[in-house]
């Protein structure tokens, strides 16, 4: 399937009847930047109609592997050749959740500042959880990164009775703190 550019969206459940489980796969290449590689975190935020998380439990990442309802999970380890993955079971996403946003950020570790601009490549793709088949893939997102330390990669969102996926690639120079402020994640 063709690469999706920033801003492009696809009507997943309308085009693929019966699609219930998604896997969002993250692939990046940090080259020789080991500190950057070790500091990257892939996470998902469950957002209500106001675009904000209900509580800290709506942030799914390595230290909180599932949302309270288990609809969004981070499997460890990731499969399918992805570095990190987020699984979404669409029918069990609570009705008040409007979208699931996936983000990548550089954890601010003591004394070591790295940016996403140092990434050689960074793409996100969507798989069908049933047969692990790739449905769509984003364009190369790394080229646009400069001194950002976090990026909202894309979102899976309700549209009418369907679920759509959109590539965002929205960078944040304030890192995960900036994303937390915009999406209401209590830090």
């Amino acid at each position: 399937m063709a690469e999706m550019k920033r801003g492009a969206n696809v009507a997943l459940t309308r085009e693929i009847p019966g699609l219930a489980g998604l896997v969002l796969g993250m692939r990046w290449n940090a080259g020789a930047e080991r500190v950057l590689e070790d500091s990257l975190v892939f996470a998902a935020v469950l957002c209500g109609a106001d675009g904000r998380a209900r509580s800290d439990r709506d942030f799914v990442f390595f230290n909180q592997l599932a949302s309270p309802d288990d609809s969004v999970r981070q499997p460890e380890p990731a499969l399918d050749g992805d570095q990190e993955q987020i699984e979404i079971d669409l029918p069990s996403v609570p009705p008040e959740i409007d979208r699931v946003v996936v983000v990548l950020y550089v954890n601010e570790s003591p004394g070591q500042r790295r940016t996403l601009g140092q990434l050689r490549s960074c793409t996100i793709r969507v798989l069908d959880a049933r047969d692990r088949r790739e449905l769509v893939r984003s364009e190369e997102l790394a080229r646009a990164f400069r001194d950002e330390t976090a990026v909202v990669l894309g979102e899976v969102y309700r549209h009418g009775g369907d679920w759509k996926f959109k590539v965002l690639g929205q960078g944040y120079s304030k890192g995960i703190a900036g994303i937390a402020a915009d999406y209401g994640i209590p830090l």
Partner: protein, 305 residues
């Protein structure tokens, strides 16, 4: 009604039920006692501390799953008595907390969790005292950014220096301190979990990306010259979200070494607890008193490198 999990039909459509179990909230456990500041850490009792006068052991209502520490209990409390489920809720949101674990026979009304699970929100300030000795960070607060610990003390206190005894998940155990010790935990690591520094004040910094490598640590203060300290000032813990946990240091008995605070990773959540205990001896005795018995020592202050 929520069907009885023992007799309910299997739900093959819910794939995660086949391979993921959700720990059920357990009755007040050793961990809850610890969080309440009334008992030692379940896995790491510190021998020096006299056992707190334990309340008469309440009859345990059910065989509690002692292995599964579920501190998230307040967020998803198990109803004491089967409450009628409003039918409107049933189809869309499945009450997974009840489903997977076969629950024991209906227990008598459960004693409400007695621990005060104090939490912290961004920008907030919390005081640790001996009556309210603990604060628990959320899993998000425990694993994003870094956690800073700073001894805000004036020179009148004396030559107070800060350090920490630690144990990592792999069992590795030693100390970090800026003054005359090893600054990084683990030593010579490219990616230290703890860094000891001295800026305006003595400080320790935790890399929370690696919080899962940390099992526990005990923050101590000592006099570099071994002259008794005139305890004062405040130990300040600052979260990545800007919240502050403050532990005033007045009130310690005179001495040259004291264990001020301990930090435990309990099921992904960092529990920060005031210890405030002057120790006779030096850093070695302080570490031993808190159960860091895997450290080998060069002398009474520094571990074998």
């Amino acid at each position: 009604m929520t069907p009885d999990p023992a007799t309910a039909a299997p739900r093959p459509d819910l794939t995660f039920l086949r391979h993921r179990a959700r720990p059920r909230p357990s009755a007040p456990s050793a961990a809850a006692q610890f969080v309440a500041g009334r008992g030692p850490h379940p896995q790491h009792p510190h021998p020096a501390a006299p056992a707190a006068p334990a309340p008469a052991p309440a009859p345990t209502p059910a065989p509690a799953a002692s292995a599964s520490l579920d501190l998230s209990a307040p967020a998803a409390p198990a109803p004491a008595a089967p409450a009628p489920v409003p039918p409107a809720q049933a189809p869309a949101s499945l009450d997974l907390s009840a489903a997977p674990a076969p629950s024991p026979a209906p227990a008598p009304p459960r004693q409400r969790a007695t621990h005060r699970d104090r939490r912290l929100s961004a920008g907030q300030q919390q005081l640790l005292t001996l009556k309210a000795p603990t604060v628990t960070l959320t899993r998000v607060q425990s694993a994003i950014g870094h956690l800073d610990i700073e001894a805000v003390c004036s020179p009148e206190v004396g030559d107070l220096r800060l350090g920490a005894a630690y144990q990592l998940a792999g069992g590795e155990s030693s100390t970090v301190q800026h003054a005359g010790g090893t600054r990084f935990a683990p030593p010579a690591s490219r990616r230290p979990v703890i860094v000891a520094g001295h800026d305006e004040y003595e400080n320790l910094r935790l890399d929370l990306r690696q919080v899962q490598r940390l099992e526990r640590m005990a923050v101590y203060a000592f006099s570099e010259s071994r002259a008794p300290l005139r305890w004062g000032g405040t130990l300040v813990v600052t979260t990545f979200g800007g919240a502050r946990i403050e532990l005033p240091l007045e009130g310690l008995y005179e001495g040259t070494v004291a264990v001020l605070m301990s930090i435990y990773d309990l099921d992904g959540e960092l529990v920060i607890r005031a210890e405030m205990e002057t120790i006779s001896g030096d850093v070695r005795e302080a570490a031993r008193a808190y159960g860091y018995d895997r450290i080998t020592w060069r002398d009474d202050r520094l571990p074998v490198a």
